[in-house]
Amino acid sequence: MVDEEDMDVPTSSNFSDEYRPVRPSSSADSTKRKIVIKNFKSHPVIPEISEVSEWHTINESIEAILENKKVITSLETLFNLVKSSTDQNHPKALYDRLLGVIREYCIQLKTTIELENDIPMSEDTCEVYILRFWNVWKVYPVKMTLIRNVFLYLDRVLLSQTGDSDILPIWEASMRMFRRVFFPDIENDFKSHKLFLALFLDIQRMMKHYDAQGIALREIFGMFSAIHMNDEFMEYLVLQINDTYSNKNLDLPCKDYIKYADNVIKQFRELVDLYFCEPSASRVVFEALLKCLISKSIKQIVLNGFDQLLDSDEISDVSRMFQLVRRVNGGEDIVRNEFAKYIKAKGQQHMETCSDKDFFKQLSLFKKRIDLIVEVGFVSSIDINKLRQTVRDSFESFMDSKGNKSAELIARHFNETLRKSKEYKEEDIDDAIVLFRFIRGKDIFEAYYKRDLAKRLLSDKSASVDAEKSILTKLKLECGAGFTHKLEGMFKDMENSAQLNNSFAQHLSDLTNTPKEKLKYYVRVITSDLWPNYDLYEVNLPREIETSLVDFSDYYKLKHGNRTINWIYSLSHAYVFARVRPGYVKEFLVNFSQTSVLLLFNSCEKWTFNEMLNATKLPKDELKKTILALHGSEAENSKQTRIINALCENGDINSKTTSDNVEKHSFVFNSKLTDSRYRIPVLNVYLKTPKEEKEQVEQEVNQDRQYQIDAAIVRIMKSRKELTHSALIQEIMAQLRFPVKSVDIKLRIASLIERDYLSRDQEDTNKYHYVS
């Protein structure tokens, strides 16, 4: 582009030789003198002839400048001529004459451009046209600068003398003239101008061919600045963009469409930035492109293959989409809504199809991917917290859709992580806590967690007490002290039991009459209500066990007079030496029922089912399970590993013993037992089938929920003293950690009224009072 700075302070070296005036002649000297003299005359009489000849000289020189001919008169002489002419005449007349000449020149220039009118404009020919235009423009400002310098005096006089705002400085006027001649009626009809079309086509051409360069584009854009046509061109550009890019490629899936749109926007802006030295242009173009590429059909774009876009691993695609869409008014809302739908649908699919084993892992991976999308893909969001909230809400909505499945399986994951056999990893737990937050039935989780914790503690399978405690701290942080109160109590029970056994051992050794060879045993005492419910039943204790348990009960009674203890046989276990045959001794690890059955064989070799039942007083089902566990599987190759053999009535060994026919058999010890292990753990048949366990958990939880509702009602009413029914229900719903129906709450309220905790208002039956 032609630099205006340079044009303002021309020195002769700036111009080519042809503009350089010839050396001043003597006649020029005399003219100069004449001017000086004239200046001092007060009212000179100006001959008509002089003015005409002066204009003639000036006109000749101007035309010489314009037509690239040698200027005969020196510039200094010309300057003085203009000065005298200005002083003598009405300066406006001179100004009009000058503009007339420039106008003629412009018209003549224009003919050089429009010569080949018939060539249709296309991407291939546009450059020719632009070049032609540039050829015209590149000399125009240079010539105008020179002329302006010659007419500097006129410029000053006109500007200082006349208040006429129509009269522009010569430079400005010449620029406006150019505009009028080349772009007539541009204010009303900028669409049809060939140069505009040529420029747009050239931009299109360069977008198609990346390495293409725009010749003279910068200069042409400079021209627009000089003749004040930026606005018109921008307006034209916006219109063209609109026509070219609206409603194109809308059948493309979201991912590809966004790529295409992003590319167009990037390239277009790049070109505009490169050639158009107008800072606002880039923004205007961007907004126009955004409008017709994205805003106009935003829903269509986003809805077309949104899921596939999120499914793909290309987070950059997601982020590109979001960056474009979020700039559109309401765009972020659309994405957020779709995102919520996506999470819910994917999550639901997960809930339906995922096996219990993979459930946690898959869900955790899914959550991490969603987090990645939010924190990386959607990071440019205006309101990222709203997005995070959307994620939370969506997860909560599907996590509880399959009853208590999530709560159960997440609790199971904690168990897996905390089991001794596994290496404890902090991040495993943190992942689990993240998912745990989305469970609404936190009490169901607690119930399962409690059962698993009980198993870990009672069978010494916990990875570490530190890990256990740190998880309790985390759960406490999430749900408050009330949530972990019982779980902490369980640890306390374990610690108290250790102390109790120490003091009991001390107590025994203090008793002088205690025989030295005493059965070694360890008793854990747990607090009822803290632990899961275990089955309690009375049995005939084998003598060896009975004495020791009575000893302990007595001791316990001594220490805690207000307490009673019950033995939980189903969770007691023992190590039993067995002399399988002479010289072949094994050790069995067995539970209580198995122990009492094995010890029966000390008194008699053969026992029928009913005899066993009478002798042990075990519950029938428990005895069946016990026998089946000792008998082992019915497979032929398990003959060696069976501890007892089942005999038919005729005395034959029957290996097909099941819970249906076990009552008909009698049993003997298998003296042919061989096992490579010294200590043989007898497979513990499940205390409960998973289904029974589930039912029990749910029953426990439901019972507990009633207390919690009661407590919540009392808590609220105590602080509020009186409340209407609906207000009370609302507050309860907000406080409880589990989903609850208002019908259930109603029942609890009635129960509390009956127990004199609340009373109904005598006038307004919908209102309750707290009874203190």
């Binding site: 360890y522 607090t527 009822s528 207000n562 307490r563 203890i565 050790e587 000390n602």
Partner: protein, 108 residues
């Protein structure tokens, strides 16, 4: 159950415990028992608030960490201490047997 919690070698244990014999092939070596304790009460629910005596009373559940214990009267009926102290303001008799209420013992 657990296979790992006791790691006594066979020689050690055989010395300490009587060895199994032909007449008595099974001998108990070690025994892990589990017991559960509860208050020694006639009825495990507080007749006043109908919450288990093992748990805090209904009012105390509303205020965490409240000091809530169990009291036995001379009649051997038991209640939450908090429930009972509310009760005797109106009626100094055991709600179950109508005997005069005298605290026999407390449990914490």
């Amino acid at each position: 159950m657990s296979t790992t919690d006791v790691t006594v070698t066979s020689e050690d244990s055989q010395k300490k415990t009587a060895n199994p014999t032909e007449n008595r092939p099974f001998v108990l070596k070690k025994w892990n028992a589990l017991a559960i304790w509860a208050w020694d009460v006639e009825c495990d629910t507080c007749a006043i608030c109908r919450v288990h005596l093992m748990e805090e009373c209904l009012r105390c559940q509303s205020e965490p960490n409240a000091d809530c214990f169990v009291v036995w009267g001379d009649c051997n009926h038991s209640f939450h201490h908090c429930c009972m102290s509310q009760w005797i303001r109106q009626n100094n008799r055991c709600p179950l047997c109508q005997q005069d209420w005298v605290v026999q013992r407390t449990g914490k």
